[in-house]
C-alpha cells in the first residue's frame, strides 16, 4: 500500500499528513479530520451532498483523490460557518424553509456561496442551473431557489 505526504489547507489551516494514495478527499475530511458536515450521499458523484470548495470551486469530494488537494485550499461547511451565528446563505435557508432533513444542505450552501461570490445577483434560471448537481429529496427546490435569490436581492 502506497502513501505519501500531503500538504494542503483546510478551512484556512495548513495541513500536513501522510495519506494513502487511494484516500478520497471525502474520507480525509470526514474520517481523518472529523469534519462531518460534508456528507456522504451516493458516493458516486450523482447527489452533490459531499460538495466542498477546492480553490473556491464547488467540487465533489467523493470523486476527488485527497492527493488532488496538494497545494490547494479546501473549504467545507465548517469553514463557511462563522464562529457565532450563521453565514448569510445559511440564514436565508433557515428563514425561507429551504432545509428539511438537512442532509443535502451543506452541499447546497457551498454551491450557493460560490455562485453568489461570482454572480452576486443571479436570476432564478442561473440559480437553478448552478444547483442542478445537488439533489434534495425533501423540498422540491422551490424554497432553496428562493433562499439563494433572497441573498442575491432577488425574489
Amino acid at each position: 500500500m502506497a502513501s505519501r505526504p500531503l500538504r494542503t489547507r483546510v478551512n484556512g489551516t495548513a495541513l500536513e499528513r501522510t495519506v494513502p494514495d487511494e484516500r478520497i478527499l471525502l474520507d480525509l475530511l470526514r474520517e481523518d479530520l472529523r469534519l462531518t458536515g460534508t456528507k456522504r450521499g451516493c458516493d458516486l458523484g450523482t447527489c452533490g451532498c459531499c460538495t466542498v470548495l477546492l480553490d473556491g470551486r464547488p467540487t465533489l469530494s467523493c470523486l476527488t483523490l485527497a492527493r488532488s488537494a496538494e497545494g490547494r485550499e479546501v473549504t467545507t461547511i465548517e469553514g463557511v460557518t462563522p464562529a457565532e451565528g450563521l453565514h448569510p446563505v445559511q440564514r436565508a435557508f433557515v428563514e425561507r424553509g429551504a432545509t428539511q432533513c438537512g442532509f443535502c444542505t451543506p452541499g447546497f450552501i457551498l454551491t450557493s456561496v460560490a455562485l453568489l461570490r461570482d454572480h452576486p445577483h443571479p436570476s432564478r434560471e442561473e440559480v437553478a442551473r448552478a444547483i442542478s448537481g445537488n439533489l434534495c429529496r425533501c423540498t422540491g427546490y422551490t424554497k432553496i431557489i428562493e433562499a439563494v435569490l433572497a441573498v442575491g436581492g432577488g425574489k
Binding site: 458516486l44 458523484g45 465533489l60
Partner: protein, 330 residues
C-alpha cells in the same frame, strides 16, 4: 464505498507518463478527472493496481480558439466565451454533460474516452455477481443480447459527436510518437463495447484541434435524456452545416448514445450538399439515418423509442442549423 488500494503515479510530462505506461503495461489506468473511472473503481469494476494521474501534465491543459487540451475541465470549456462563440454545437454539448459539479472535475479527454455503459455493467460487485458477471467485467456472457462474443455497452459521451460533426481532430501521443486523426477515428467501428477505441495500449489523448473550416460552420447538439440534469445521453445528435441554406457546401451529422461508438453519417448527408435544405430533404435524411442505427435495450429508455426519437432529433438539429436564422424557403 472505499477504494481498494492502488499506487498513484503523478508524471509532469507526456513523456514521463508514456514511460510509466510502458513499465506498468497492462496493470494501470490513466486518471483524468476521475468522474467516470472512480465510480467504476468504487463498484469494483475492472480494477488495476496502478493509476497514472495526468493532472500535473501541463501540456494537456488550456483552451484556445483552435485547440482544447485533453485535461481541460469541462467547466473551463463552458466558461470560455471564444470557444462557445466559435463552436456553438460544442458549447451546447459541454453544457449538457452531467452536472456543474461533475464538469468542475470531468475533462474533455475523459469525456471522449468515457467507458461505455450498460445496465448490467454499471452496477456494484454483489449486484453483478448475483446475476452472473458479464463479458465487460469478470464474466463471459452478455445479458443484453444473450451470447458470448460481443459486448453491446453504449458509448455515452456528449462531446465526441459534437466534435466529429465539426471535423475536429484529436492528437494522441504514444510509445511510437505522436499522431493526429479525425475524432471519429478514435473509436473502433469494427469493435464492440469492450474493444471500443482505436488507441494502442499506453496512448494518451493530448488535445483536440479544430480545422480552420470549423469556425465557418453552424453547429448544434441535441440530447435526449430523462432528467434535464446528470443523465447520460439516451441519444445525442450533433449537426454542422457549411455555406448558405439554399446551397450548403457540406452537411455533417454525428450521433452518440445509441451504439458502442459515436458514428457519423456522411453517406446520407453528402446528398444534402448543393441544394436547399428543405423540410422534405431533411426528413429524407432523418429517415435514412434512423434505418441505420441499432440501439439495444441497455439504457433507461427502450431502444425502439430511442430509434424513433433519432428521426425527430435529426430533423430538429438540422433545422436549427440549416440557415443563419433557422428557416429556409420550402
Amino acid at each position: 464505498m472505499h477504494l481498494d488500494p492502488f499506487e498513484l503515479h503523478e508524471p509532469a510530462t507526456v513523456e514521463e507518463a508514456l514511460e510509466l505506461a510502458g513499465t506498468l503495461s497492462g496493470k494501470f489506468d490513466y486518471l483524468a478527472g476521475g468522474t467516470d473511472l472512480l465510480p467504476n473503481y468504487k463498484m469494483h469494476i475492472n480494477l488495476r493496481p496502478h493509476l497514472i494521474s495526468l493532472e500535473r501534465v501541463s501540456e494537456l491543459r488550456g483552451v484556445s480558439s483552435n485547440r482544447i487540451g485533453a485535461m481541460t475541465r469541462l467547466a473551463e470549456v463552458e466558461e470560455s466565451p471564444d470557444l462557445s462563440r466559435a463552436y456553438p454545437g460544442v458549447a451546447e454539448a459541454v453544457r449538457e454533460v452531467a452536472t456543474p459539479l461533475v464538469r468542475a472535475s470531468g475533462t474533455v479527454g475523459g469525456n471522449l474516452l468515457l467507458e461505455t455503459r450498460c445496465f448490467f455493467f454499471n452496477q456494484t460487485y454483489p449486484w453483478r455477481q448475483s446475476l452472473g458477471f458479464c463479458l465487460k467485467a469478470d464474466g463471459d456472457r452478455c445479458h443484453v443480447v444473450p451470447q458470448k462474443e460481443r459486448c453491446y455497452a453504449t458509448f455515452s459521451g456528449d462531446l465526441a459527436p459534437a466534435l466529429a460533426a465539426l471535423e475536429a481532430e484529436v492528437e494522441v501521443a504514444g510509445p511510437s510518437g505522436r499522431r493526429r486523426m479525425p475524432v471519429e477515428h478514435l473509436y473502433n467501428a469494427a469493435g464492440d463495447g469492450i474493444l471500443r477505441l482505436s488507441l494502442v495500449p499506453g496512448e494518451i489523448v493530448v488535445a483536440i484541434h479544430f480545422p480552420e473550416s470549423a469556425r465557418r460552420a453552424r453547429s448544434a447538439y441535441t440530447k435526449l435524456r430523462v432528467r434535464p440534469s446528470f443523465d447520460f445521453p439516451e441519444l445525442g445528435v450533433a449537426a454542422a452545416v457549411w455555406g448558405a441554406a439554399e446551397a450548403p457546401e457540406k452537411v455533417r451529422l454525428a450521433i452518440g448514445g445509441l451504439e458502442t461508438y459515436p458514428r457519423r453519417f456522411d453517406e446520407d448527408t453528402d446528398a444534402l450538399a448543393g441544394a436547399p435544405l428543405t423540410d422534405a430533404r431533411v426528413r429524407t435524411v432523418a429517415e435514412a439515418v434512423t434505418r441505420r442505427v441499432r440501439p439495444v435495450h441497455n439504457t433507461f429508455l427502450p431502444p425502439d423509442y430511442r430509434r424513433r426519437m433519432t428521426e425527430v432529433f435529426v430533423r430538429r438539429t438540422l433545422s436549427r442549423v440549416r440557415a443563419p436564422n433557422g428557416s429556409v424557403a420550402a
